[in-house]
Symmetry: C2
Subunit: 198 residues, 2 copies
C-alpha cells in the first residue's frame, strides 16, 4: 500500500532496538505528517552524525570527533581510568556524572562460547595506556555477568605488574531492591561484601 | 558527554512516538555502532522519502507520489469509497486488505472542544468526489469515539441527498473480547446490534 520508499524507511526504523514494525510504522506516519517539525530535523541530524562519525583512537568511544569529547576534556582526571565493555556502558556511567576520570572501551567481553579472545578486545591498547604511566587507578567496570567477571579477572591479572591500584564496581543490592525479589546470587554477593554500619 | 551533533540526533529520535529519551539513546548507539548496516540505510531511506513526500490531491493520503499509490491502483474498486479521519486509519484499514475500494482522508474529526469545524476537514473534496458520480457506496469509517461518531453523523447528513449507499463500521465485541472486561458502552452497542444466529 505504502510506496516502496516509505516501506524501506519503515524497515530501516524497525531494525532499531526498541522499535518493532508497528511502532516503526507509527514513527513513519509521524514523520510524514510533521515534515518540517520532525522529518527535516531528523534527516539533518542523521546526516551530520553520519558525516562526522568516528571511533576515538585513544579510548574506543564513538563520537563526532577523534579523539572523542571525553579524551579531550581538560577538566577530567587523567589519573583514573574506567574500563568498560561497550560504548553503551561508557555512556551509562558518564550520564551518572559520578566518575571524573577517563574511559577505555574494550569493545566486548571474553567469551569462550562466542570465540572472543583477548586479542579481539582493546586490551593491548589498555595495557599501553597504563604502561604510559600517569595513571593511578584502573576501575574495572565490567557487567556483573559471568563473562564480564571473567574479563575483569583476566584484566586484573594482566595489570598486576603495573604500579596502579585496580578496583572494581561494588556488587550488592541495587537501590530500591527488595530482598524478597532479588536472586540468590545478588543476595550472596551482598552478604559476602557486608560492611560495618558507620 | 556525547557531542552536540549526537545529542541533536538523540533528541530528534526521542520526539518520535513510541520512543523516549532512553530508547532514543539506545537507537543512536545502535546507529553509531552499525554504521553500514543501520545508519547509512536509514539516512538514505529518510532522504528519499523527504525528497518525494507528497499529499495526494485526490484522497489526502501521504505518499511518495501524487496521486498516491491507492488512487492510481487500477485494481481497486472505484465504486466504493471509505472515509477515514486520519492517514493512520487509512493505513490500518489498508493493512487488513479487507476493503477493495478507494479512500478519503478527512484530516481530523469535528470537535467543538478543539474548534475543528466542517470547513477545516476535507469534506468539500469528499462531497465533490461523491457528486462526480461513479460511486455506489460510502463507508464512514470514523473512530468509535464521541467526536468520530459526531463526524460520521454530520457526513451522513451531508451525503443524504446523493444517490449513494451510506454505511458505517459495525460496533460490538472486539475479537477475543471478554464480556467481563468490556466497558458498558461496548456491551450496549453489541446487545443493541445483536443478530440472529445463522
Amino acid at each position: 500500500m505504502a510506496s516502496a520508499e516509505i516501506d524501506q524507511l519503515t524497515q530501516a526504523l524497525a531494525r532499531l532496538p526498541g522499535l518493532g514494525p508497528r511502532s516503526a510504522r507509527r514513527a513513519v506516519l509521524h514523520l510524514l505528517k510533521k515534515r518540517e517539525a520532525a522529518l527535516t530535523p531528523l534527516l539533518r541530524a542523521l546526516g551530520t552524525v553520519a558525516d562526522k562519525l568516528a571511533t576515538c583512537g585513544i579510548c574506543g568511544n564513538v563520537d563526532t570527533t577523534d579523539p572523542c569529547g571525553i579524551c579531550t576534556d581538560a577538566k577530567r582526571d587523567t589519573r583514573s581510568l574506567c574500563v568498560v565493555e561497550e560504548v553503551s556502558d561508557l555512556w551509562a556511567l558518564d550520564r551518572s556524572r559520578l566518575f571524573p576520570g577517563k574511559f577505555h572501551v574494550l569493545g566486548g567481553r571474553l567469551s569462550a562460547l562466542d570465540g572472543v579472545r583477548p586479542e579481539d578486545l582493546g586490551i593491548d591498547t589498555l595495557i599501553a595506556r597504563v604502561s604510559g604511566g600517569d595513571i593511578d587507578e584502573v576501575v574495572l567496570a565490567m557487567n556483573a555477568t559471568l563473562e564480564g567477571q571473567t574479563t575483569a579477572h583476566y584484566l586484573a591479572e594482566r595489570l598486576e605488574s603495573h604500579p596502579v591500584r585496580i578496583t572494581q564496581l561494588a556488587h550488592g543490592l541495587p537501590v530500591g531492591g527488595e530482598l524478597d525479589y532479588l536472586d540468590e546470587g545478588t543476595l550472596a554477593q551482598a552478604l559476602r561484601a557486608r560492611r560495618p554500619v558507620a
